[in-house]
């Protein structure tokens, strides 16, 4: 356990470590064991939700790189997810590329398109940038809806299931595919912010003029942030294409962009762990409400009748509540709980 006087580093190497204390290693071990045991404890329905969470985590981490760490507000998440999904689906079904190659192609294409739509960020800030990315969302949506050749005029793309996936064990096999990919993606994102690139992102967020003065190339940092973030988002979109086996534009609307923003707000802006907590929270909330509706639906008919509306209301209420009460999200709440336990019975 860490001593109550704090954590002291003697070398820079020690300070740069991902985990500093034995307690943190113990926590990691518990999480790893849990993640490995989970598929054997959950039924198919909840395993499906776990898989959606794993995909969402990658997307949320990507968005947090841009919004939380670089301070560039983006409402174009849904559009970039669409780019990833459509690219990988087209690359593997029409061009006949093997799936891993198609996913990698999707990641790079989305990164490129993200960088392109990030160009307005060089001139615009804050609110104006948010509106510009809103436009990019609408334009990408228009393209995927109206350019018939993308879907061969069907309006959707069907993605064949992988040969080795069986019907009965669909969810559990996908869990084992998604878990390592998500784990690596999160680890990579965590490591980016130990490098000079990641630090330059944070410098741009905190004080762009000062960052420029100490030699951070703002143009490069902003465009790289858009590309890197979109790369993660593209990966998430590509995985969702194979997991859900159909690609339609309805799954990438502005509501999706808002959902992902809500994830990182609730989880904690500028925190990789926060993106994970937020994705879990936002994906579990509707599922738990559905469960609640099933449980008490007979005794309180209002609840089951109005379930969709209640879900939306609680979604909005969650965003507002977190912003008003704990703007730094679940990640900060977790830190506070840890501190409370560590210093108990003292307040600080």
């Amino acid at each position: 356990m860490a001593t109550a006087t704090g954590i002291h580093h003697r070398t820079y190497r020690a300070e740069l470590r991902l985990r500093h204390t034995k307690a943190e290693w113990a926590r990691l071990a518990i999480i790893v064991v849990l993640l490995l045991v989970v598929p054997y404890l959950l039924n198919t329905y909840w395993l499906g939700i776990a898989n959606s969470i794993l995909i969402a985590v990658i997307g949320a981490v990507g968005l947090n790189i841009l919004v939380g760490f670089t301070g560039q507000i983006s409402l174009g998440q849904g559009g970039f997810l669409a780019v990833g999904a459509y690219t990988s689906a087209i690359a593997s079904t029409r061009l006949g590329l093997p799936v891993p190659v198609a996913v990698i192609v999707a990641v790079f294409v989305t990164a490129g398109i993200g960088a392109l739509f990030g160009l307005p960020a060089l001139r615009l800030k804050g609110l104006y940038l948010a509106i510009a990315t809103l436009a990019s969302q609408e334009i990408i949506m228009f393209v995927v809806r109206r350019w018939g050749f993308l879907t061969e005029d069907k309006g959707y793309i069907e993605v064949p299931r992988f040969g080795f996936i069986e019907r009965e064990t669909f969810e559990i096999q996908w869990y084992w595919i998604l878990l390592p990919i998500t784990f690596l993606a999160v680890l990579m994102a965590r490591n980016v912010f130990r490098s000079s690139l990641g630090r330059s992102f944070m410098a741009v967020r905190d004080q762009d003029i000062a960052a420029e003065a100490i030699g951070v190339n703002i143009t490069r940092a902003k465009v790289t942030a858009f590309a890197l973030s979109s790369g993660f988002v593209g990966l998430s979109g590509a995985l969702s294409a194979y997991y859900t086996e159909t690609v339609t534009w309805e799954r990438f609307t502005l509501d999706v962009s808002v959902l992902y923003l809500a994830m990182i707000i609730v989880g904690g802006l500028g925190s990789i762990a926060g993106s994970v907590y937020g994705a879990i929270f936002m994906m579990l909330l509707p599922a738990l409400l559905t469960e609640l509706g099933d449980q008490v639906g007979d005794s309180i008919p209002f609840l089951s009748d109005q379930l969709p509306a209640i879900k939306n209301a609680l979604f909005g209420a969650a965003i507002i509540t977190f912003l008003l009460i704990e703007p730094r999200g679940l990640d900060r709440i977790w830190t506070r709980v840890k501190d409370y336990v560590r210093f108990w019975p003292f307040r600080y």
Binding site: P120, K125, A130, D208, A309, L324
Partner: protein, 290 residues
């Protein structure tokens, strides 16, 4: 020629409603520097309050409008006091997200009370049509243009002449200077939200009269962004120019080219304007270089 005229009238009517919706948006931005993503939901709530008073409670339309205005004022003030005021001085992302959260809540509340089905409302405006240079133009569109112009004129006079209007302009210009002159900035903030809700109510009721009372009214809130960016985020005359331009553009593209393209054209204009002249036609230019 007749198609052109018809499209022009439709476009102007759409544009007039857009200008009203954008007016509320600009009021809020000018006074409080908040971007209101819930503007479309204000239209929605306005349309449904009027519907409740007019159809469900069977009030005459004048009384129903009065009820609507009162409700809009209360809604605006409550939202400002309990949702936006705690966030004064927070970053742009927090403010944007809180209004997005608000829009989700407002929409869900409307859904809870009224469901998602389309509600029929007896038309308030006459539905006939007039011959006009060889084109058959619906009367209600013309009236919508007139009403919206009257409301916009009233708002303009309010800003020019009345004490409160001048106070609002002072706060928009410089909050600290306004404070030292004895203007209550809090009051002005509350008033900005209340007025925005009222102008959204008028826009919502007009829109509902042209089509129907339904959830999709809220979608109008998004086209407000191209309008305000075109006109300038903090410019009242800009909303009129922007609203009419976008309204006409949408109708012409939809009439002469492709209705699907009409949905996205406003956003292409938006990006173009942002790249060339980010502060819009009439917006106040703020220079900051890195």
């Amino acid at each position: 020629m007749s198609t052109f005229l018809l499209l022009a009238v439709y476009g102007l009517a759409d544009g007039a409603i857009l200008a009203l919706a954008a007016l509320g948006f600009v009021l809020i931005y000018k006074a409080t520097r908040v971007i209101n993503f819930a503007q479309g939901e204000f239209l929605l709530v306005g349309a449904y309050t009027f519907y409740t008073a007019f159809v469900l409670f069977d009030l005459p339309w004048i009384l129903a409008s009065l009820v609507g205005v009162l409700f809009a004022i209360v809604l605006g003030v409550v939202v400002e006091r309990f949702v936006l005021r705690p966030l004064v001085g927070e970053t742009a992302i927090s403010v944007i997200m809180v209004t997005i959260g608000l829009s989700a809540v407002l929409k869900a509340v409307v859904q809870m009370f009224f469901g998602t089905s389309v509600r029929e409302q007896p038309k308030i405006l006459p539905t006939g049509s007039v011959e006009f240079f060889g084109a058959t133009v619906p009367v209600n569109r013309l009236l919508v243009i007139l009403i919206a112009s009257a409301v916009l004129l009233a708002f303009t006079i309010f800003f020019r002449r009345s004490r409160h209007g001048i106070a609002m302009r002072a706060v928009a210009d410089d909050q600290q200077a306004a404070l030292t002159m004895g203007i209550s900035v809090r009051q002005v903030f509350a008033m900005a939200w209340a007025l925005a809700a009222v102008s959204a109510l008028i826009a919502g009721v007009l829109l509902a009269d042209l089509s129907a009372v339904e959830q999709s009214i809220a979608a109008f809130g998004l086209i407000v962004f191209p309008v305000v960016i075109l006109g300038g985020l903090d410019s009242v005359p800009g909303t009129i120019v922007g609203g009419l331009t976008i309204g006409l553009l949408k109708q012409f593209v939809s009439g002469y080219m492709d209705p699907g393209l009409a949905e996205v054209v406003p956003y292409i204009v938006l990006v173009a304007i942002l790249l060339v002249r980010p502060y819009g036609i009439f917006g106040e230019t703020r220079i900051e270089r890195v």
